[in-house]
Amino acid sequence: MSQFLFSLTAAGLALTASAVCVSAQAAATATAAGCPLEPVKFHACAVPKAKTFNPPRTSDGRPDMQGYWDRAFTSQDIEEHTAGFGIQAGPSLVIDTPDRKIPYQPWALDIKKDIVERFISPLASCFPPGMPRHVIAPASHQIIQASGYVVHLLEYSHSYRIIPTAAGPHVPSSLKLWQGDSRGHWEDNTLVVDVTNSNGLTWFDNAGNFFSDALHVVERFALVDADTIHYEARIEDPKVYTRPWTMVSALVRNKEPGFELLEQACHEGNRAVEGGQSVGLKPYPGVTNISGGGR
């Protein structure tokens, strides 16, 4: 038995619980730009600071957000959650609903309850993450700015989006895209990005929080100091939610010397789909195409 051990110990679980508390405590006390990272507190602290901060500028006079960025919290679950298997405890990113939960319509909440037991996470299939998960996905980001454009790269699966910041209409509503259609403009020092045309086939996180192809996201990026961005995403989807809602996260500059985005050919050896299918999970068809949806 010494070479083949199956181990489950009460002591191990007890220590696990203890370590989780330390981790959660560290997260609770962490700060960026002098603001606590807990999203409601961060929002209250960072918004006034961003209004008075004079950011570094690009050659065309826009706030210079270029560089590598990491999100403050993982995107395993954007609602408050305790630590679990492969998941760190984390606060809700939702800042403006009474219970800080996503305001699903009753039929949608019913689907949410067991969605991860029915469907393979779209990200596990190496699909593009969509907005706003592109911003809070499990990988480093790079922002590059050119006159009239902001380019937002994500290491995961070579995901990217190019945001035109000159005036221009969205693509026709009949065109549905994994990453949606992002159109930006500057309001003083804030980059405002309007996202439509989602195909509704991605999730916010690995907990299965979802939207439909009626998703409309308005994102706001503002430097709070040279190394911190206040990121806000206003979410509307009348097919799925009872009201619009807002999520907030700090983005913190990755200053690791020599850091760069690396190749990440996601499909190369992806066995997550196979693993999901082995336990009966199916490809996610979008919430409006789920058999029994609206039940």
Binding site: Q3, F4, A26, G84, G86, Q88
Partner: protein
């Protein structure tokens, strides 16, 4: 007791490091079935989105079973100091992880210990970023 300490240390290390993968662990792997596997490496797939280790593990009855263990992405392993050359075929490894729900000889790896004593976090920690809230 030494073995127990190793198991506990492995679990603590797992929780000390931020764990984020591109898929949900709980959908495929069983948190109630931690496993320690000791055996010889037969293959290492240094592939995206997760690397895979294959080791021959001798069961008590003498039968040898080849286990497949999911690791972090090559980029995450690379940034953690591991290289593909750290995994020559035939290496003696001790791997901590969690069994797959489908009952096959598959696990999600959390730590790998080499014969020379080196011990690495094997999981999908944040896929290349610290993932931890900044101090």
């Amino acid at each position: 007791m030494k073995r127990l300490f190793g198991i506990i240390a492995g679990i603590a290390f797992l929780w000390a490091a931020p764990v984020v993968a591109h898929h949900s662990f709980s959908a495929e792997f069983d948190a109630t079935q931690p496993i320690t596997l000791k055996g010889k490496l037969t293959k290492m797939d240094w592939v995206n989105p997760h690397g895979w280790l294959y080791i021959d593990v001798a069961q008590p009855d003498g039968k040898v079973v080849n286990w497949a263990i999911e690791a972090g992405s090559p980029n995450a392993l690379l940034r953690r100091g591991l290289r593909q050359t750290d995994f020559p075929i035939g290496s003696e490894l001790i791997i901590e992880g969690y069994r797959a729900k489908d009952g096959k000889s598959t696990a999600n790896g959390t730590t790998v210990k080499f014969a020379d004593g080196r011990n690495f976090f094997l999981g999908a920690a944040s896929e290349g970023t610290t993932g931890a809230p900044p101090k």
